[in-house]
Symmetry: C5
Subunit: 356 residues, 5 copies
């Protein structure tokens, strides 16, 4: 699970800026799609060679180049050279263990984000992160994804169908829309986790098992994982909002502010979930203690009642020749009476202690 660092060692010792793909090869073939639009025109196509996208850069229209699959190092170099991206940034794109961040390189902004996927394979429920890198230039946005995903489809639809403002405004709004799609996706993840929390709380009250503990522990790990993706996002967005850059138009500011509010909401929810999960662990431990008390009570009641009785019958099982009681006519019934009296007083004692 602490996957976030497992493959880094591949790179160790190489000069900075060396492009090596660190991460799983999540898709076989790199897929490059271009959407070029302004208020009137829309051109959308998939290209086979990365060089085909270069002409779009010259046009005044907004161009969105989306690259699914980042393991093709040569392709990355070609893009980097054409768009003037610093080798260190290309390295960051390839290294999928990056922390979300935003760098201002004057002629373009570089943004790294984490897209989260929730997978429930039946035996294990896990949150997986995929790195999404954005390069925002004056009239283009390049997005890099580790594999083909469906989170950006809503943005594509809005562009195609002219929904909302997106066709009327520049590349900064497009970048905003993409980040917004990612943050919206966080809410979905949180909803799912919220449901698991609810189910687990139910389970805790009715029938806590070691399995429940495992679920709680898994939730805790998920929260650690989520925090790692979400907290830096906050800095990214507050950075974008405060940024004095010609790349971001003033009219986009209110959207970024809104997005920042959403991120704060995500963080709040994550922190609340953490508190809730911590509380669940306390309850689990208490329930273990409670169960133990119940078990011990049963044992103690049984033992405390029967051990003295067994002692008494043991007495009259002794084989002494001179045991006058044994010869008494009412000896046997008297012993029964004695035992009955002991039983009743024991029961009363436990009642008083509220054990019964």
């Amino acid at each position: 699970m602490p996957q976030s660092i497992t493959k880094r060692s591949k790179k160790s010792g190489l000069p900075p800026g060396t492009l090596i793909h660190i991460g799983e090869r999540k898709t076989e073939k790199v897929r490059i799609t271009v959407i070029d639009y302004d208020e009137e025109h829309l051109e959308e196509r998939e290209v086979a060679q990365v060089e085909e996208v270069f002409p779009f850069r010259e046009r005044p229209t907004v161009t969105w180049i989306n690259i699914d699959g980042i393991h093709d190092v040569e392709l990355m170099k070609t893009i980097g050279q054409h768009f003037g991206v610093h080798p260190l940034l290309l390295e960051d794109i390839l290294n999928t263990e990056q922390r979300p961040k935003m760098d201002d390189h004057e002629s373009y902004l570089f943004i790294i984000l984490k897209m989260l996927y929730y997978t429930d394979t039946g035996e294990a429920r896990e949150i997986e992160a995929e790195q999404v890198s954005l390069i925002l230039g004056p009239n283009f946005v390049i997005s890099f994804q580790e594999r083909e995903g469906d989170v950006f489809n809503s943005v594509r639809d809005r562009i195609r169908n002219k929904k909302g403002r997106i066709r009327k405004v520049g590349s900064d709004y497009l970048a905003y829309a993409l980040i917004d799609a990612i943050v919206d996706n966080y809410f979905m993840i949180l909803e799912m986790i919220g449901e698991i929390i609810e189910d687990t709380e139910e389970e805790l009250v009715t029938n806590p098992t070691p399995e429940t503990l495992r679920t709680i522990h898994g939730l805790k790990r998920s929260m650690i994982f989520l925090r790692k993706s979400v907290w830096p996002l906050r800095e990214v967005l507050s950075g974008l909002e405060r940024l004095e850059s010609p790349l971001i138009q003033e009219s986009t500011d209110i959207y970024l502010r809104d997005l920042y509010d959403h991120t704060i909401q995500v963080i709040d929810t994550v922190e609340n979930f953490r508190d809730m999960i911590a509380g669940m662990l306390d309850i689990y431990l208490s329930s273990l203690s409670n169960k133990m008390n119940e078990i011990m009570k049963v044992l103690t009641i049984i033992a405390t009642i029967f051990i003295p009785l067994t002692y008494i019958v043991g007495i009259y099982g002794m084989n002494f020749e001179y045991m006058p009681e044994l010869g008494w006519r009412w000896g046997y019934p008297a012993v029964w009476l004695l035992m009955g009296a002991i039983l009743i007083s024991m029961v009363l004692y436990f009642r008083r202690r509220r054990w019964l």
Copy 2:
């Protein structure tokens, strides 16, 4: 319970500014009431159509438009257009999972708050939050509530009966009065929680049960919930106080400062309650351990006394042909004496250990 995120997914993938109501439909019919006043005049009425409130905007008097029920998206759009409210803000009003916040839009201030209700259905005691949005313009305040509530009634009474300064001053004081009513309501909630804490502490000392744990856990959750509503409120109020806006007159500042002090007091109390509840959990766990110790003591005393005695009587229950003791005249009484001696020494031992 982690309701705060449950219905958000409805919106996922839509362009920002799309108006969709997120939340429960808390009231069937949207109810719009207008109170228009200055020092001399007062006009109060309920309108059927939202358009009826527009003329009030032109008058120099203070107009308070209160809208109970926010699920009528068309109505919201009409208001938004007339009063020049940004679609993103309308979206915030409709999405009842917002965090309290204050935005300055020059021609108006936009404030989101949480009104809290405490419901005790007998089987479950819960705090529910309702979102209240305020738009403060130069001579009007529009308030949006999810359902008809009675928290603002005190403000209405003061306007009707000319109590206090409210009729003499502007819309900023009205907005203050509404926020004040909400914060005052928090104290009521805290008082109720304070009483539950007191009762639970009493219970903890006298007779802690798993039910007590459940109450403690519920209190903890309530505190998580309260924090979420109250902490951002602090920022809202300190923002309002520091705000350099022509919408807030200088004479209102002292009231906002007072309100800020109240919010700090609420936060202090919430934090103190949290500390107290954490302490209660410790006590609960200790009491479980104490109980276990008590149970084990009983078991151990009984077992430790009777097991050796049973062993002794077992010895003389053996059927060996050559057991001289069995034939002794005083064998039986001697065994009784022996057992009595063991009993006494055991009791003394437990005394010395302070178990009896």
Copy 3:
């Protein structure tokens, strides 16, 4: 106990500035005393009517008006009007659940503090807080107390006996002296708590009981209570020190700095006590577990020794017709030898495990 909010609801819904006394009526009759002094003259008297104190305001001498009992709302209004105190501040004086704070109103400073009393009724030891409000004007100080207290007596004595600088300097030094008396009092409270902590630690080591837990819990609550009073005091004093106000002379600054240092010392001690008390709880819980281990050891030793022995004697208590051992001449002594051997090996086993 969470008394700090219990009576607030009385006020709910009233316009701000409405004077209502919130708190216990701690004294029957309001008592107003005036001390008017400069380096040469001293006039001290108790007045029946509040109006009698007004002439003092015109004199160049320093006037200290002390009001014990704040439940007389009319009297408060009269003072407020004469001295030009804002209704919201009067409200704060009457509402004894205020947080310590300092407000600068240009012509006067308004300070709220908490005076602490430690009450030990035998069955319960509690810290109670009383609100003290100070109004510091150019040549007067008005102090409001909930009931007659003796904490200010030392200041009175110093004025009467010309001890220290107090008679040579202005009203700001008088205000300082009063706050200093309150902070000095905190050290007394902390000393008492320190002693209880010491006693409880002793008890923890020698003989921890559920009663000890109760004491620890009580100490924890006291710390929560103290923090609430002391932390805001720090802000009050750092505010006073940094204040650019003609009301505070430069020569008083060093005294305020000294007072600030004392407050930091109080806070440090409170935080240290908190840490100590947290440690005590850990010890208590460990001692419970230790005790349990001791109990279980006793039970286990007894059971483990006697259960096998009882089994053996049970064997020879069987009534089979063909049990050759029963007829053996040395069968009975052989069983004794066997049992002795088992006993010794058990004891050796427990020795090796360090249970004996």
Copy 4:
């Protein structure tokens, strides 16, 4: 132990600046020594009357006046008057419960520090603090200690033997050297605590006893105590470093920076120790639970094996007239076989559960 506040009450109610010695009278006779030096000359002597030191002040050489014992209030007053020290500072020197601090009084700097002593009386190991106050003037340093200590001896030696720069530079370097000696001493204390931690960890693994818990608790208390002395020291030193005062020459800055680094190192170590000690408590508690599990296993194995066997032999101890098994020729060996089978299956069961 919470000694830091125990004697403060002596002062309560007195005007500020009243000189009263608060603390133990650690030495009988106040001892005043003077060392006066420049690069060529060195004069060292012990004076009987404090007035003898005054002439040194006029000389251009550096004068170090060291006063062991601060309970002679008259002497303090004389010094204060001659050197122009504010009464509040004299009060701070006498009150040994001060927090480390640094005050800039333009013509002199006033510094309070804590010197730590580690005492191991065999039955209790404790850290004791002694207050050291320094007054740094243009060409003199006055140091006040509660009792004669040996920590400053190294500085004395360096002055006497012209070791290092000390004889070539001014009084600021002397003050630095004294503080450095105190901080160096902290490292000694930390080394000793480090050794105790190591020993205790060893003990925890091999044979944890309630005594171990007591040691852990003691370490925790020591850390609370150390923090109290060390954290404020950091502020003192960063204050000294940033100070724009003619009393501190620029060439001393690098030494103060170095000293600051050492203090950070001390704080780091204290915090690490705290973390380690917290971890030790967890281990202790786990080891208690582990022990309990071991005890319970032994009991359960014994009881689970012998209770059923005892039941079986009990059956054939019944005295029914018609019990055919009793008359069987192989009845007795058959019971042995049965019991052997039970024993083996039990052992196998415990093996599978890894209890044996």
Copy 5:
């Protein structure tokens, strides 16, 4: 283990700037190697006398002097005098217990870092730190290591083989490359720890033993140790990045920024690991309680079933003369029936309680 302070006492009492080696003598012979290069030329050699390296300083090429072994105090002095290094810094180099830091001395930068080694001796897995000091001058870098290490080999290779930018740029980039090699090494350490965490989690779920606890505790200590090395590094790097020094060229800034990001990533991972390890302890404790519950259940089931049965057979083992049941023809089978009924009802009872 708290080695970080153990040998410091050697220095106590000496004047600051006295050169004493504090730390283990990790290598016998000090080894000095020089690499001098520019884009065209490369000279690499090992020198016997430190004086041989001085001529390199005059050349315009970049000179990297690497010194393995720092215990030769005389050598350090010679270097210090030649390169104008302040004695306090030499002291820092020799004292291997320094905290990572960066000091700007105008003509050179002084940087202290920690290189980490992970050693797994089979019986103990530990992280060891070695101090690396760098002096960065206008055209030289001097690096001090405690012993010969292989972490810098990758940098050497890049210089030799002209890989990347290193041969084209100045000494600042060389310093960056060295720090980068150290930070890259941290990722290796973290990967190894990540694997141990994974294994331990696996172990926790399948078969937790006291050994597991020891591993968790060891991990915790490693984290404390790592934090100590990594957190100050962050300040070092953010300091370097913000530094306005002619020693650092603008083109290197982006590399420092990248390095800073890596450090943040290391810190994030360390903090996540801490959270995970804390969670593992909770699981361990829960699993102890669970085990105890299992053990107690077994005991209770056995005892609760057989104790009553043993009691019954005890009854009919009594020797009363008048016990009618004993003479009954079907008495014995009836007892069996009774015992069977008890057994079945017990089993049903445990089933209902979900114990079976």
